[in-house]
Symmetry: C2
DNA sequence: GTCTATACAGCGATAGAC
DNA sequence: GTCTATCGCTGTATAGAC
């Protein structure tokens, strides 16, 4: 059951879905300006013209990629929230969503688009911002809940913490790329959340001093 | 006086310097795949062929941009270290280097190249990694010094904290771009360093609970 | 829906004159 | 050192047949 605020992923022709799948992967690995209709066509063994039948231009394709990615990401957050009830564990699961991308050598789709932001078609700008806003909203709710239940403790507003989490995880992914490993990402993610746990909750997960 | 480990920025023809200046700005704003010899030539009112006289190809130009940027960045860190003696203040000044970029709508040059990493000429890869390594080394030294002097306190290794700082600041810049403001960056940077200050030093800068 | 063929702009790069 | 001219290729996008 969907609430009025959530959006449903539109039904698509099978071919359109295949195109989005390939384009999404190329975008997350190479960036918006470093993949082409030819790349997608080659991989799917289709002509470039067939792609244009499904997606008029690259700006439209990009817009649809953002929409689908955002809908799926929001759905993953809702599923995560239903599965995990403890706020610190929810934050850890949130960072695991990013870690999963990293294991496939990918960046977050909207993180990649953020670096390409100046060169994107205007029509794609709002979608990128909306993605980050939805992340901030979800994290703020989780953080607030964690405060109320006494599992989390911090001085700043939930929104400020949320932006810190989003930025730090995106940046940790960015740094991971040239090194081709996940160790820096994992270390950063765990440090990030350690400082948010309430003293009582801290003991269960804290590490020994080296 | 330079130590044996530091490199000196090579003397260049005035034109070569102008080319690097323009290319650097375009790269930091648009990314490596979203600026061209034509862009630089137009801006400098020169022909593309003249650019090729100074820099054989785009890979060489990119390599020189990384080298110059790294040398200047390392020099800025050394100057900062000479000017500021307190470890927490050094960290704040470090993040101000990034903030200064953001005020010009720029990303860190190597942060931008990290997102473009998969599509870069192989010859540019090592330079990007070297830039981040130098950042890690400098930060680790500052962090270690802060521990020894009792100004900083943390459980992880200096290296782990250093990577966290680098990643979080790069990511905070990335998030700032689509929003076109510096507020999220500033908030993240201040939170980042707050958790590292030793209790005794904390009182001087801590903020009231909202 | 998919194809071939093609238009047209932009790319990095080179030749050769000045 | 800088130019004009041009090459070969790739980019996005379209026309029109099937």
């Amino acid at each position: 059951m969907l609430t009025s605020m959530e959006e449903r992923e539109p039904e698509r022709l099978p071919t359109a879905t295949l195109i989005l799948d390939v384009a999404e992967r190329l975008l997350q690995i190479r960036g918006f300006n470093a993949f082409s209709y030819a790349d997608i066509a080659t991989e799917l063994k289709m002509s470039k013209a067939a792609l244009h039948y499904h997606f008029v231009g690259k700006a439209e394709l990009g817009g649809e990629l953002i929409n689908r990615y955002t809908i799926r990401f929001v759905a993953a957050l809702a599923a995560l929230e239903a599965r995990v009830s403890d706020a610190p564990a929810r934050l850890a699961a949130y960072s695991d969503l990013y870690l999963a991308l990293l294991l496939e050598q990918k960046m977050c789709l909207c993180g990649m688009l953020a670096t390409d932001f100046e060169t994107l078609p205007d029509s794609m700008h709002a979608g990128v911002v909306a993605f980050f806003d939805k992340n901030e909203e979800w994290l703020s709710r989780v953080l607030e809940d964690g405060i109320e239940k006494g599992a989390l403790e911090f001085e700043e507003t939930p929104s400020e913490i949320a932006w810190m989490i989003i930025g730090c995880l995106q940046g940790a992914m960015l740094i991971a790329k040239p090194y081709g490993d996940t160790s820096r990402f994992k270390s950063t993610a765990s440090q990030l959340f350690k400082g948010l746990r309430a003293p009582a909750a801290k003991t269960s997960r804290s590490r020994a001093v080296k």
